[in-house]
């Protein structure tokens, strides 16, 4: 057989051109617009797809090679962790609750991201964009699998980790991340990339995968750090896709600028709201603290974002509309979010607790202007009451923001003693929002957000019971029926950490291992 032999190995740029751009052809049996019907209707004008840049110039063959290496490294650690009972080496069983939030809230997003990138990876007319999206689609599937695999070890020992996908589709607080992705996937392909690749990946994920994973390392969780950093190693490529797509749109046509600016405004705010839960994990759920949410925000968003938006100014792009409010929020959102989870601790599949004395001191130190003034008084009261057997559990369901779907916990800009209420009238009904920005997102596309599956409203409509449940039956307890629909194991998955099975088991296991060593 005659195999053509290349005289000289191709350089990276030629290799990328051959293996990516060289794979494209213009269709002739059918017009290109019919083969790629979705990348024009959003109004983004593209004149020359060849101007799309992939600065890493990664080709498929190299992609498989490096991803294979990452997997081998990761699985070596996961195996070692399981073999050595790594779960006993974490600082404190309270920490595991951060993993429960991660597994039910974040991991299913990876799967959604996989589906969505596979979809847009088909829809762009330009090959450069298609190949980058296809790689990311495979990355996201890998993240979903490795996170599930790594965390399944904890599921053997701790409660609340048995039904992540089921819960993600149903549980009230998980509708926040779920709706973010569903909002993105029901946009066109360019908006989708702005939402996920630019806003989420480029601007915001550093806060999840960098300081939080450092926190996991600090708390002795070798398994989570390793899958976290392994996933994050793909993130540089994802972030690059985000920024390159943005620059590409801005450079192709000046008419694209206002459309892109609108998406940046919307998705920065959507992403910022979504991260409230990460803020809570960072400040309240890591027994050994590394960096406060506020410090992470300053390092990764304020400093880095300033540089980025200074750079984008030459295209006529300004900072997202919600920027100033989001920066003010760095002093508040972790406290507001954790407090509401504590209040609704009977209705969550993870444990909450009153922070310990030293932890409150740490919070006071990290949040000198806000923690003692606005948040400490309720913790002192709750702690007193819990000591006397009167732990606070709010039983009335919360009012939700129509856009971000978070309970209305956020306060007015400039006044942290007042909840912010905003509303719009649309087709004879009222819609309520947590902020000016969530309201504006709704007002721009009301036909979309009136379809929101708001968990509280779904419960009241009777749509959150298992099939066959009869709410008219004598002694029917609607809340218990909802928890059953969620697959919660009531009394094991929910309620305070104090007195939980997790707490007792962890103490017993650690005690046992000490005894074992003495024998």
């Amino acid at each position: 057989m005659d195999t053509p032999v290349l005289k000289k190995k191709l350089g990276l740029k030629e290799r990328y051109a051959a293996m990516t751009r060289g794979l494209h052809w213009d269709t002739t049996y059918q017009p290109m617009d019919k083969v790629f019907p979705y990348d024009k209707y959003e109004g983004i004008k593209i004149h020359d797809w060849d101007k799309w840049e992939d600065p890493f110039r990664l080709t498929m063959d190299a992609y498989w090679k490096y991803q294979g290496e990452k997997e081998k490294k990761l699985y070596a650690v996961i195996d070692a962790f399981a073999q050595n009972n790594g779960q006993l080496g974490v600082t404190d069983a309270r920490y595991i609750n951060a993993l429960k939030v991660f597994l039910t809230g974040v991991t299913p997003l990876e799967y959604n991201a996989h589906r969505l990138f596979a979809h847009v990876g088909r829809q762009f007319t330009g090959t450069g964009a298609r190949v980058a999206c296809q790689m990311q689609s495979i990355d996201e599937l890998r993240h979903y699998q490795t996170e599930t695999h790594a965390l399944s070890h904890y599921n053997k020992y701790f409660n609340g980790m048995h039904s992540p996908k089921h819960m993600n589709d149903r549980v009230w607080y998980l509708s926040v991340p779920k709706s973010y992705f569903e909002d993105a996937c029901t946009s066109g392909p360019f908006e989708f990339l702005t939402a996920v690749s630019f806003s989420f990946e480029y601007l915001l994920t550093n806060l999840l995968f960098v300081p939080f994973m450092s926190g996991a390392a600090h708390n002795g969780d070798m398994s989570t750090v390793t899958f976290g950093f392994s996933a994050q190693s793909d993130e540089s490529r994802h972030m690059t896709l985000g920024i390159e797509c943005l620059k590409f749109m801005l450079e192709q046509d000046p008419d694209n600028v206002p459309i892109v600016q609108g998406w940046i405004d919307k998705w920065f705010w959507r992403g910022y709201r979504l991260l409230s839960i990460v803020a809570m994990m960072q400040d309240y759920m890591l027994p050994k603290r590394v960096m406060s949410w506020r410090e992470g925000w300053e390092m990764y968003i304020e400093q880095n974002g300033e540089s980025l938006f200074r750079d984008l100014a030459r295209y006529g792009i300004r900072k997202p509309k919600g920027w100033v409010q989001a920066c003010e929020g760095k002093n508040h959102i972790s406290h507001q979010t954790y407090a509401v989870f504590y209040s609704y601790g009977a209705a969550a599949a993870f444990h909450t607790w009153v922070p310990e004395e030293e932890e409150m001191a740490w919070l006071s130190e990290k949040y000198p202007e806000t923690f003692e003034k606005y948040y400490l008084p309720r913790w002192n009261y709750w702690r007193e009451q819990a000591k006397n057997g009167n732990r606070f559990y709010q039983k009335t369901l919360p009012m939700l923001c129509q856009t971000c779907q978070i309970p209305m916990i956020f306060t007015e800009p400039g006044d942290a003693t007042k909840i912010a209420y905003r509303e719009s009238d649309y087709q004879g009904d009222k819609y309520h929002f947590c902020s000016d920005h969530c309201k504006e997102i709704f007002d721009n596309e009301p036909e979309k957000y009136v379809q929101a599956w708001l968990p509280v409203h779904q419960i009241y409509q009777g749509n959150c019971f298992k099939p066959g449940v009869d709410p008219t039956k004598e002694g029917f307890d609607p809340l218990l029926a909802v928890f059953d629909y969620y697959n919660f194991k009531v009394g094991r998955d929910n309620l305070d950490f104090e007195g939980s099975e997790d707490q007792k088991n962890f103490a017993a296991w650690r005690g046992d291992s000490v005894q074992g060593a003495k024998k």
Partner: protein, 118 residues
């Protein structure tokens, strides 16, 4: 503005009145952030407004030491953020409350644990 779409875009709103057994009412207690979020309650339209303080809200807010001290004749009400004077003897509907309205109340002299709005 509206959704940019390839085809006509019209889907039913999820939370219209007919989908609920009773209209929803949203209620918030000002200056009491121990309840970090206002609440949502489905309430029959013929519920007397005065029953909120005596029958409906104790289950929601009774945990707070301020709640027992409330003088309901002195409470200030707001509807969609604007001062509002409901008649406690009349029903929710007769007070003009509709599905998904939001009302708040302030309790003068009672502003949370040690006046901290908590």
């Amino acid at each position: 503005m509206s959704v940019v779409a390839l085809k006509p875009y019209a889907f039913p709103a999820k939370d219209v009145r007919e989908n609920f057994p009773a209209p929803l009412l949203f209620i918030g207690w000002e200056d009491h952030l121990m309840f970090g979020t206002p609440v949502a309650l489905p309430l029959p339209p013929d519920t007397p407004f005065g029953a909120l303080g005596t029958a409906v809200l104790p289950g929601t807010y009774g945990y707070h030491p301020d709640f027992a001290k409330i003088d309901w004749t002195k409470v200030e009400w707001f509807k969609s953020g604007k001062p509002w004077k409901p008649d406690p003897a009349k029903s929710l509907a007769d007070n003009g409350l509709k599905h998904k309205d939001v009302i708040r109340f302030r309790t003068p002299g009672l502003s949370g644990i040690n006046g901290s709005c908590n």
